[in-house]
């Protein structure tokens, strides 16, 4: 009997020991907003390589839609299982940082390890708190612009859409619903895209959320003017609430202008690639329907436009490390983030969307490895255009930054979609501009006083 007990005891001890060996692998999860399956595959490949190099760490990749991220984080933090590493826009990093979820110390450590001077200043500024702490690490970025049919503009004798006047004039000119053709796409669905487009208009009219002293100055004449202008412009968009997905109408030749990030460079040149394979002898009947091989040549982009001042907008996507109860998890998260900046991993990541994902490290922007993307998209646009776009990341204008100072409440306002709701209400629910702005202002005050 005693023997049996001893054997059982030994066996169970062995079992526990084995378990602890398996347990010794630190499990962390990585939330990414790159939800498309191809991008997921590439990221998984990067993570697999990381795991092969670090066999004490296991990383679980979780895709989360950009628009759902605040909701999912709220739910995860209520349930006590927030991810260790999150890829997200800088606004959200700021919002989560202000809520006390992010680990500033961990971010600082990785930034210092890479070298602070390596990062573009503008990118770093967007992720740095007023007290100088890092909400997250800038990872890649894109610039927003108006993409337009340069051939149509030329034929109609119109100037490029670089001022409020030119934009509205062109939108009116090309809008022809009877022919199922529209002037412009701006965001009107209550989603992040609407705020991204609206912000660029507001700043080009000198309208801000905060002044340099941190007072909320959202409810201003300049802002109301912007909203009125936005409403007017909406008349020349495809019917009903619209978001970035409507860019397809442009690719189909049914729209003259649309707001989009440099992510579209990929789709535009891929349309050409697709045309090559979908027409001709392979699929005679299709005749290239939906694909215009010349679209990439006929498309131009204006990244900065003005009413009373120049305005350029873009987004820095960041990597954030959350506060973990367990220091081994924080350590694993730091190693993962550091690894993602290694040349091979970084370039592989950025090449998922050439044009859309641009490096924030100086050395990487000049690297030949980066310029040589597998789809040859950079060649289409030329080195200068790419350099111009990447350079744009250094001086983005956003509501969070006023005269070089950072206002974190703005990130929270973005996360809660207050401006998109205001736009939707005033366009589709018949609320007057002033009433919608008052309502938005009241919500903003609630956030500031929280």
């Amino acid at each position: 009997m005693r023997k049996i007990i001893i054997i059982l005891l030994a066996a169970s001890l062995l079992w526990i020991w084995q378990g602890s060996v398996i347990m010794a692998k630190t499990n962390i999860s990585f939330w990414t907003t790159e939800t498309q399956s191809e991008r997921m595959k590439t990221i998984q490949l990067i993570l697999d390589t990381f795991e092969a190099l670090n066999d004490d760490i296991q990383v679980k990749l979780v895709p989360v839609d950009e628009n759902d991220l605040p909701t999912q984080m709220a739910a995860a933090s209520a349930a006590g299982n927030i991810p260790e590493v999150v890829e997200m826009g800088s606004e959200l990093a700021v919002a989560f940082g202000s809520e006390g979820i992010m680990d500033f110390g961990a971010h600082e450590a990785v930034i210092n390890d890479i070298g602070r001077g390596e990062f573009f200043k503008g990118a770093l500024q967007l992720t740095t708190s007023p007290a100088g702490q890092a909400y997250a690490l800038p990872y890649h970025g894109w610039v927003q612009g108006i993409w337009y049919r340069a051939d149509w503009f030329k034929e109609a004798g119109l100037a490029p859409p670089n001022t409020w006047y030119n934009i509205l004039k062109a939108a009116r000119h090309f809008n022809n619903p009877a022919k199922n053709q529209y002037g412009i796409l701006i965001g009107t669905k209550p989603e992040g895209f609407a705020e991204q487009v609206f912000t660029q208009f507001a700043i080009s009219n000198g309208a801000q959320e905060f002044d340099a002293n941190g007072n909320l100055v959202f409810n201003s004449d300049a802002m109301r003017e912007t909203l009125e202008y936005y409403k007017e412009l909406q008349k020349y968009t495809p019917p009903g609430p619209q978001t970035w997905r409507a860019r397809d109408y442009y690719l189909q030749g049914k729209m003259a202008m649309f707001f989009y990030s440099t992510y579209i460079m990929d789709d535009l040149s891929l349309a050409e690639v697709a045309k090559g394979s979908l027409t001709g002898e392979n699929f005679e009947g299709l005749g290239g329907v939906g694909f215009d091989a010349n679209l990439v040549k006929n498309t131009k982009m204006v990244s900065s436009f003005k009413n009373t001042q120049d305005s350029s907008y873009g987004v820095i996507v960041t990597l954030g490390i959350t506060k973990a109860s367990d220091s081994s998890k924080t350590d694993a998260a730091k190693r993962l983030v550091r690894y993602l900046y290694e040349e091979d991993a970084y370039v592989t990541f950025l090449h998922m969307a050439p044009g859309g994902m641009n490096p924030v490290l100086r050395s990487m922007a000049q690297s030949d490895k980066f310029m040589n993307d597998p789809k040859g998209i950079f060649k289409h646009y030329g080195k200068d255009k790419i350099a111009e776009i990447i350079g744009g990341l250094d001086h983005l204008q956003k509501f969070e930054i006023v005269e070089g100072k950072m206002f974190p409440a703005s990130g929270e306002i973005f996360a809660q979609k207050i401006i998109p709701q205001m736009i939707y209400k005033t366009i589709f629910e018949g609320v007057s501009s002033q009433a919608a702005m008052n309502e938005a202002e009241a919500e903003m005050i609630k956030i500031i006083n929280k």
Binding site: N180, Y182, P238, P239, G240, Q242, A246, K417, Q421, F428
Partner: protein, 291 residues
């Protein structure tokens, strides 16, 4: 044999409790606890950090003063009444048709069930594609082919139409449920009744009104009640197809998770919805079904 008269009954009762205990436990865990916790939360200002602040009836007072809540209530009533009536009537009509003999009846009966059994998400995408303002077939047909309208519309996106679209979608998706239940009842109605009525000179309409309908009373009653409960609580269909139709569950979701996140207030909305539902069902059972 001396035995206590109650003992057998007591034993049975004990056995009875034992048999239902697992289900009771599950219900307590999965239904009673969340309902109670929701009720509890509705008296707090919920903070994401976990430090909730007791506010008494403030959430309810805020709610009753909120115009958006009444708007949402109105939308819910229109949605529930419209979709319940629609599914039941369409189900009744189709069931009456399918009760007649015709070639390939089996096949048709099966096909009618398709909208009910197909995955919701694929149906929603199909509808969104059909009603796409620029590329959808609906606008293509009405504007270009038939010329009924000279303007392309975003039927799902525009708040004014969206409610109607969501109601029609629900009717289309869920009428097979009503149809299935009514048809099975129809088939069990004794044919003698109809023959006797025919002999008495009753016409088709009189037979339907005086025999079919009274026989269907309870099954239709049950359908209406079930659809009523389901549709007041319906989230997925509405949210996926047109989140701008703010029925109470959608409104609760937006209050809880977007804008200035107010989960205490959202809990209060859920409580009001729950009470409303219980009250209406009680009334319905008493007054309409007379159970």
């Amino acid at each position: 044999m001396v035995s206590h008269p109650g003992s057998l009954a007591q034993q049975e009762a004990r056995f009875g409790w034992k048999t239902v205990a697992p289900s009771l436990l599950l219900i307590a865990l999965l239904i009673v606890y969340p309902v109670a916790y929701n009720l509890y939360l509705s008296f707090f200002e919920v903070k994401l950090s976990g430090q909730n602040e007791f506010v008494g009836f403030n959430n309810y007072i805020d709610l009753l003063a909120d115009r958006a809540f009444y708007d949402s209530l109105t939308v819910t009533v229109i949605y529930v009444v419209g979709s319940t009536l629609g599914t039941t009537l369409l189900g009744l009509g189709v069931a009456s048709l399918m009760n007649h003999k015709f070639p390939l009846r089996g096949l048709v009966r099966g096909l009618v069930l398709l909208p009910y059994i197909a995955p919701l998400i694929s149906e929603v995408f199909a509808w969104q594609f059909i009603f796409d303002p620029v590329n959808g077939i609906y606008n293509h047909m009405t504007v270009e082919v038939l010329g009924i309208s000279d303007e392309r519309v975003n039927l799902i996106g525009t708040p004014g139409n969206a409610l109607l679209v969501v109601i029609i979608f629900d009717i289309w998706k869920n009428f097979p449920f009503a149809y299935l239940m009514i048809l099975s009842r129809l088939q069990s109605i004794n044919n003698d009744l109809y023959e006797a009525a025919t002999l008495d000179g009753a016409n088709r309409w009189q037979r339907f009104w005086n025999i079919t309908l009274p026989e269907l009373r309870f099954v239709v009653g049950a359908i209406v009640m079930l659809r009523f409960i389901w549709n007041i609580n319906k989230f997925d269909e509405v949210f996926l197809l047109a989140p701008n139709v703010k029925t109470l569950p959608i409104y609760t979701y937006f209050t809880a998770f977007t804008g200035t996140i107010e989960q205490g207030l959202a809990a209060a909305i859920a409580v009001v919805q729950f009470l409303l539902l219980i009250g209406l069902i009680f009334l319905y059972i008493r007054r309409v079904l007379k159970w």
